[in-house]
């Protein structure tokens, strides 16, 4: 079902974990639908993403796309990171089954949510970044359960 690259990333996901005091944090998805993704960004003064970590509750595709997405944005500037679309992630993974394409959207959204959080904290506006719809505020998940 999944490509070798997807399986490789699923099996050895890069950048799993948390960052203490991150520059930005974003959680998207919905446990009800079976997927939640949280991104932690560490962004330096010059706007370069020094470190990124993720946690995912989701299917194999969700895990693999999170992993790949973090790899693709690490070391990039915020502007470069914004251009890492789900299409780019998909291509880097050699594709996903049709009914799994939406999982790759989650990674894109999670990055955008974390960047939005970063921008809010810094009080800046990142050009081209719109407020992600599906951001989940801390605690909401537990409340819903």
């Amino acid at each position: 079902m999944y490509t070798e690259k997807v399986m490789e990333h699923f099996n050895h996901p890069r950048n799993v974990g948390e960052i203490e005091n991150p520059s930005g944090i974003g959680t998207v998805g919905n446990a009800k639908c079976g997927d939640i993704m949280r991104m932690y960004l560490d962004i330096d003064e010059s706007g370069v993403i020094q470190d990124v970590k993720f946690k995912t509750f989701g299917c194999g595709a969700a895990v693999a796309t999170s992993s790949m997405a973090t790899e693709l944005i690490k070391g990039k500037t915020v502007q470069e990171a914004l251009r890492v679309t789900n299409k780019a992630v998909l291509e880097a993974l050699d594709g996903l089954p049709a009914q799994k394409v939406h999982c790759s959207l989650l990674a894109e959204e999670a990055i955008h949510a974390a960047l939005w959080d970063y921008a809010e904290k810094k009080g800046i506006i990142i050009e081209g970044l719109v407020k992600p719809k599906s951001d989940i505020h801390e605690g909401e998940v537990e409340e819903e359960a």
Binding site: Y2, M7, N11, A31, G34, I36, R38, K55, T56, F57
Partner: protein, 387 residues
Amino acid sequence: MSKLIYLDNAATTAVHPEVVAEMLPYFTEFYGNPSSIYSFAGKSRQAVDASRKIIAGALGCSEKEIYFTAGGSESDNWAIKSIAESYRSKGNHIITSKIEHHAVLHTCEYLAKNGYEVTYLDVDGDGRVRPEDVEASIRPETILITIMFANNEIGTIEPIREIGRIAKEHNVLFHTDAVQAVGQVPIDVKEYNIDMLSASSHKLKGPKGIGFLYVRNGIKLTSFIHGGGQERKKRAGTENVPGIAGFGKAMEIALETMEVRAEYETELRDHLIERVLAEIPHTKLNGHRTDRLPNNANFSFEFVEGESVLIMLDMQGICGSSGSACTSGSLDPSHVLLAIGLPHEKAHGSLRLTLSDETTREDIDTTVDALKVLIERLRNMSPLYED
């Protein structure tokens, strides 16, 4: 990859070698059409008759009450649509449960769109329909009660005897989807007052693509597939002779081995359940603890998602399922787990392991050991888990 550990016998089973041997002659040697007149075709006819006899014997009914179909889904569709059609003048109400297989649920939904009314009964936390709910739902216009014999996801065995009694007392027809139960637990359709029963061969080491519908004598049965005069003019289509012969053989073996198998599988299953519950925290067994199919275990692991568990098991050569095979491709959580009260995120994290008599204790231990590690790994990756 090491040896395959196949723990998805509720999805489908390996065909028994004796069943294959039984089928083989009917492909190339006795390939005649059972409806043909020449003596060569007699061999095919005899194979069909012999299989029907074994099956009728297994259920305690007459051979004339068994109609071969292409599988459990066709049997379910036929039974329900046929009653809906033939008894339309009596009424338009059907009683079923929320945990039926989609072959029943989607058929009921189809009928609901076409002028029928359907009551979907709740189940208790163990997945059992309450007989008193069945009774309370019966109305003058109720024409059919369709409740499965045993659930395919959580293995719970339904109170069929009680429901049969109620159906009879109220003079309402009773169909049961026994796809998961036939060959696993003893069934006597007369004793249980079952009017119609669906079964599928590939769940009991028979071939895929063959099933049957038992229909009690005296019930108005309409054709589902119109055409030639096969199956007492009720189900057209050239008989799948090898399939039918194989199903008969599979049934024979299942009956002979049922007791020993059930004992063996129950013990292994309980070992599996005990180890998982003891060694993996935040874990719940779904379905009734004892009133369940001998080979079924179904767990919810909090904070992890089912597909990821399956893929990780798969990487170690272990085959499991996150619900019914037909829906594992879909992204919806199991309607069965929701019906027994699981919240969505737990319904997403369930794992069904279904054994056969070829499963060994070592297989089970290997599986539990693997599960312990991978559940931990996934939890560490999960934003929901804080330990």
